[in-house]
């Protein structure tokens, strides 16, 4: 286990490098929210999810739904690393004719849905969870949402549906990086007590440090053990995690690093890798 954790920590740094390199050459895209979700994605694809990159449509796979579609550079990097498609394809991000669209479009191996219009992924995840249950399939459904995304009313409609149908084959992870485009979530529209909200909606809720990969892995295990209700893991993260001048800097919500910034960022990440 410790070996696995060490390996994933190293991988997190390399995934961050991939994200920054692909965003710099694309010259646009969502840097902050891609860097904040890395440990969550790795705990899923490196530990929890059942999948076969050679058979992306394998019907006994677990499903991962990226509801916060703008975080796709992070998912693309992790899917390429998991072997769903060649890593060199990452460099086609946002380019004409690419399977790596600016926001996810069905068709890229490993992607379960198209997304980008916020708030819809959780309802889709519910539908998949209901369908799998109707077929008595033991597969689980994981859905990543943002905290800003929880402004959307549809998130709460879906939260009610999941609890009403006791969807214990569903686990939501909230990448709570505390920022949305206009600024701090609490300034834009304060959602106050997030955990209490989900509890009140009938969910089992866990709060963890979303960059502590071991804690994310444990929370995913806990979610699987909870019966008769859905679970949400509220993962506290840092927007732009891993690069000093991008962390907490909301300028990087929807912009890519410039060449010089990329070089500085890669140096920092190389340093972090050495320290590991």
């Amino acid at each position: 286990m410790t070996q696995k954790i060490k390996e994933l920590k190293k991988k997190a740094i390399n995934i961050r490098k991939d994200i920054l390199i692909m965003l710099e050459q694309a010259k646009s895209g969502h840097t902050g929210g891609s860097l904040s979700e890395v440990e969550i994605l790795l705990a899923l694809y490196g530990y929890k999810l059942k999948y076969d990159p050679k058979k992306p449509e394998w019907d006994m796979r677990d499903r991962f739904i990226l509801s916060k579609g703008h975080g796709c550079p992070g998912l693309y990097a992790v899917l390429a690393d998991a072997g769903f498609f060649p890593k060199k394809e990452l460099m086609t991000l946002r380019k004409l004719g690419s399977r790596l669209q600016g926001h996810p479009q069905l068709g890229l191996p490993g992607l379960e849905i198209s997304s980008g219009s916020l708030g819809q992924g959780l309802s889709i995840a519910n539908g998949i969870a209901l369908g799998l249950r109707l077929d008595n399939k033991p597969c689980r459904v994981y859905c990543l949402i943002g905290d800003g995304e929880a402004n959307e009313g549809q998130i709460w409609e879906a939260a009610m549906t999941a609890a009403h149908y006791n969807l214990d084959n569903l686990c939501v992870i909230m990448d709570r990086n505390r920022f949305q485009i206009d600024g701090l979530c609490c300034d834009v529209k304060d959602m106050l007590q997030m955990k209490m909200r989900w509890n009140a909606f009938g969910w089992h809720a866990i709060e963890i440090d979303g960059h502590d990969i071991e804690k994310v892995m444990n929370a995913l295990d806990e979610a699987e053990s909870i019966k008769k209700k859905p679970t949400i893991i509220i993962a506290d993260t840092v927007k732009g995690k891993g690069v000093s001048f991008i962390e907490h800097n909301n300028k990087y919500h929807g912009t890519a690093p410039k060449k010089a910034d990329l070089e500085r960022a890669l140096e920092e990440l190389a340093e972090a890798l050495k320290k590991l």
Binding site: S123, L130, Q154, T161
Partner: protein, 315 residues
Amino acid sequence: MVQMKPTRDGFGEALLELGEKNKDVVALCADLTDSTRAGWFRDKYPDRFISIGISEQDMYSTAAGLSLTGKIPFAATFGVFASGRAWDQIRISIAYMNLNVKIIGTHGGISVGADGATHQAIEEIGLMRILPNMTIIVPCDALEAKKATIKSAEYKGPVYIRLGRNKSPNITKEGEKFEIGKAMTLKDGSDLTIIACGLMVHESLVASDELAKEGIKARVINLHTPKPIDKDAIIKAAKETKAIVTAEEHLIHCGMGSAVSEVLSENFPVPMKMVGIRDRFGESGEPEELLKKFGLTSAGIVKAAREVLKLKKRG
């Protein structure tokens, strides 16, 4: 005696049949289960019925998720909510992914009556027509609604079916073939063509009989599928009759008539008149009163026919 039945009943009957034949068929409803007739399915197949509550956006995205597991979801509510309330969900969760979701919008048109403008769906053809991958069916009677529902389950991809609340006369026959995207010529004629869908098909047939008394031979086409549109039937009618009238219980902007005009203007322009609602909301009243007020009657179609014939004569 003509049999009278609401088109929503045809949907309800078909869904029951489908439930028996295909275990992948599931139904969802947003708190209008009896009104939409999805309740008949719920009572027989409760395990495959998903009550979603008053949350249409959630319903259409949930239906998308179900279709991703191989289910064939029929998600029903009133047309106003099925089209407008959940439009972005239909755009992204369903149409963009080209998923096999069947959107059932009942209580379509002005003939909803007393409930008034908020509940009168007069924009759905437009709202759905502008979405790539979408198919739209507007059945003209309960039997056609039944066939359309069954065919839509066999068809892979998103389908919107527009249904009515009130009893309407049966026009089609049991043995007649229904094919998605293939218009039906109900009556031949050489002076002009009336292209209609839904409730207006019956009115068009009555109008055609009226016109016949004056020696005007009007062809009547049932364009039950505004999208994908049957271009061949429209162009053929334009070439052979050289005048077109469209009739629909819908806004003329972006509706079935607009779709017909797009085909004509690009391929074979001929004089055309559109019977429909012109740039306004509906209002409360008895269905018959409202249809009359908005000119959605055989008389309204006859009037449009005379006008289009004048234009044709002028050349």
